[in-house]
Symmetry: C2
Subunit: 186 residues, 2 copies
């Protein structure tokens, strides 16, 4: 993306502003540091709710969103929930789909590639023996995730595939991320 | 969870049904196979939308949800979007929060541990030099995620911490998941 030489708005992305952003980060790499956040509250059973509001980035706190985004999660009845929202594994697929699509769209804009439409379907294999603690040989998380994109664009599929793979969420899912968990009793 | 000997409803989870489910899976492990799905459509710029509806599990297709769950994602203006939804990295945090909370609640129910309240705050460090392709040394995804739980319960923090760590989403984020990506040009 660092070679962005296009101008104007491509794929709905302001490529001029993208160029300015890249230059600013190159001159001061501390501007590249972002801290994203979520708060979650258990409601009952499998039902819980996240609120997403502020974040830190480009050297400052952003509290400019007028109200927080609110996302519910729950399990379906077959997994003892009440279906008040997609379950946590489905939310992972949403995050991955959104991340892959955004990478494609932004990198395509930087290269001057116009996209007409982008759709994706994702499927992940989960063996609940892992979660239920019934087998040490079965992993708890997804064994595999398959993503299928259908894209309308003049660019060759090989180049589109390359752009999709720049996604930070693909990195998060494909590679280990250190997670520290602290618990305070109230 | 396989040692669940409680009965009734604990933490909003039907522990009798949980026991029946575990027995059924032990007798026929193919019932443990689940396939979760998401469809995503690009709307413009950083804005895209997932719909989550059917899934496969416990030996059958589930199309019983009356309507799909709809989740938007977008980037904030500082990342060249229009803030129509949480961004993909914030969606990862929601999935992780929901997954950790559900594991805690279900495992606690199986052990007869009553929870009064569960809240969590999550923060992840992302250096956008990785995504922008400005440095090969900076990873694209989260460098680290910190989770802080505040829990009201009689159980010791050590035991609650153990239950949280059974989460399949924690496994997905902490360990590599194979992701295959196929692209069809329309």
């Amino acid at each position: 993306m660092s070679q962005a030489t296009m101008t104007g708005v491509i794929n709905g992305v302001d490529v001029d502003r993208m160029g300015t952003t890249i230059q600013a980060v190159q001159q001061n790499t501390s501007l590249a540091t972002f801290k994203f956040r979520a708060k979650n509250r258990w409601i009952g059973g499998g039902h819980n709710r996240s609120t997403i509001h502020s974040f830190y980035g480009a050297g400052q706190e952003y509290t400019t969103r007028k109200k927080p985004f609110v996302l519910d999660s729950d399990e379906p009845p077959v997994l003892l929930g009440t279906d008040q929202g997609p379950n946590p594994y489905e939310c992972v697929l949403h995050a991955l789909a959104a991340g892959l699509t955004t990478s494609l769209v932004y990198y395509a804009a930087a290269r001057g590639i116009h996209l007409e439409s982008v759709e994706s379907t994702l499927e992940g294999d989960l063996d609940v023996q892992g979660f239920l603690g019934l087998s040490d040989k079965v992993r708890r998380g997804y064994k595999e995730i398959r993503v299928h994109f259908a894209i309308k664009s003049n660019a060759p599929a090989e180049e589109l595939s390359e752009l999709i793979r720049f996604s930070p969420v693909l990195d998060i899912v494909s590679n280990p991320v250190p997670v520290s968990i602290q618990i305070d009793k109230l």
